[in-house]
Amino acid sequence: MSQSVLVENLQKSFKVRKKSGFLKGFLAPEYTTVQAVDGVSFSLKEGERVAFVGPNGAGKSTTIKMLSGILHPDSGYVEIGGFVPWTERKAMAYKIGTVFGQRSQLWYHLPAQDTFELLSYAYDMSRSDFEGRIKSLVDAFDARHIVAKPVRQLSLGERMRCEIIASLLHRPKILFLDEPTVGLDVVSKGVIRDLIKKASDEDGTTVLLTSHDTGDMERVCDRVIVIDHGRLVADKPIRDLRSGYIREKIITLAMKEEIISLTMKGVRLIEATPHQLRVSVDTSQISVEAVLQHAMKLSSLQDITVEDPPMEDIIKEIYAGSLL
């Protein structure tokens, strides 16, 4: 497989204006420099699916914006499908697709199919090519009933499906996804993850995905790059991260009883408050199902929540050096 994305020693800083009095701020404003990305280097092979993760303010979105030609870096070198994003932006645009979870590329008052048509013109697609492509994407994404509705009437999950269709329309070689599942419910997240993976498998699209959600990287990606404070912290196959950290699950139980004692091997108490218990489960020692069965024997459960550990915790552990 040839190289699809090459990033070498990428740096980007932002100048942030310091708060000061009106007159001083007007006449002699002072700035502080925030180093958002600090010497990041990595490469992606064609067809690879890579998660680019980190806590808030780690620099992942800034990096993806530089790779997709939105931001100019201060220094460093980037090649995307053979193009340098900030000097060959237009030529590169035909090779990449972007999905930004919190921004929409769809026209709000019009059906999504109108945006698809518009984008097909923007990307110079022939009519027959567009018609064939849109049919296959709409079928694959099971979106026939939603593309005809005005975008304002779509749910967030439906809109995200349309966003991904729009970004895949021109058969991009590289797909950048920035928080594609943000704000979605569990079912919609699952659908979106499966669709991204399926589309990548079928077209051999390279995927670079940023997310806070460990589920996104587990279900979609083969490799994970972790950054924090603008620096690369880890670059591992996803299975290493899974066996090292994502084996932990957080279970929150709401019960009728004021307090219960859930003492089991592999179960660690995080917090106990009246009628609520929060524990961490090491899935390499005991299954979530076994813990829940035991909890049901001890109490009358009213609600159960099972979560992945927060990304911040994983990063902290990686920083502590146990994985590196």
Binding site: F14, N56, R89, K90, D114, Y123
Partner: protein, 261 residues
């Protein structure tokens, strides 16, 4: 060709927002009614300009107000794109943001032209009670001039919108531009009635006159030569402002910064 499709979709999108169209149109009619009523009072009290009939003055006022309602409020869209950082997300498409937004503006403008040209005539006629002296030739000439005037107005709006890169707020730039139009464009008084210390030839040459005073002034003397003169000057300003805008846009691109962690 791709710009045509952006304009076409914007046309449909604009017409879909019926409430916005209706409320804007209502404000336009109200403004027309006030202006016509005011000039009616001036003429009835004997202070109206002798060189212009009341009905011509009333039609002039109605069309002069129309120009600002024909163009969509593009500066608001661009201002919002710049402030939210959305502009950056359009840069990785194979179509320049500047001309994409312009094409969308033209599309929405086409929707407004359809509505304002067709629907306004009977309403204005009902308010005035007579057609202009120049008849249909005068109305058609003004309509032609207003198309290019509205396109020029779009370009000025894009300027105002992009100025957000430096000012963080396009509204006060747009309002300043509007004040120049009010003062020098012939919106409330035809250019021929301006005080003599401002030469009419200078006033007519300024871009503000090409927005309102010159094209709407065709109502008084709708000659072929007059129409050609007005259109040629508008074309000049369109070219000039377009080139300046392209250069300004390049400066703006260097300032694009999308924050986000």
């Amino acid at each position: 060709m791709k710009y045509y499709h952006f304009a076409r979709i914007a046309f449909g999108d604009h017409l879909n927002n019926r409430l916005r169209i209706f409320t804007r149109y209502l404000v336009f009619l109200l403004l027309d009614w006030v202006m016509i009523a005011m000039w009616s009072l001036i003429y009835k009290s004997g202070y109206g300009p002798a060189s212009i009939y009341f009905r011509d003055m009333a039609w002039y006022m109605a069309f002069a107000q129309m120009m600002f309602f024909l163009s969509p409020r593009l500066f608001v869209v661009i201002d919002s794109d710049v402030r939210s950082g959305n502009i950056g997300y359009f840069l990785n498409r194979p179509i320049p943001y500047l001309w994409m937004r312009f094409a969308e503006g033209v599309g929405a403008l086409a929707g407004n032209l359809l509505i304002y040209y067709v629907v306004s005539l009977p309403f204005i006629y009902l308010m005035i009670g007579d057609w202009p002296t120049g008849g249909w030739i005068a109305i058609t000439s003004v309509f032609g001039g207003l198309v290019l005037a509205s396109v020029l107005h779009l370009l000025f709006q894009i300027f105002a919108g992009l100025s957000t890169f430096w000012t963080n707020d396009a509204v006060f730039i747009y309002h300043s531009y509007q004040k120049f139009c009010l003062l020098l464009g012939g919106i409330y008084v035809p250019l021929s009635l301006y005080p003599s210390f401002i030469p009419e030839s200078v006033l007519k040459f300024l871009p503000f006159a090409s927005l309102v005073g010159n094209p709407v002034g065709l109502l008084f003397h709708p000659t072929w030569w007059g129409v050609l003169e007005v259109l040629a000057l508008q074309m000049f300003w369109l070219g000039f402002v377009g080139v300046c805008l392209s250069m300004f846009y390049q400066m703006c691109l260097r300032k694009v910064e999308v924050h986000g962690g």
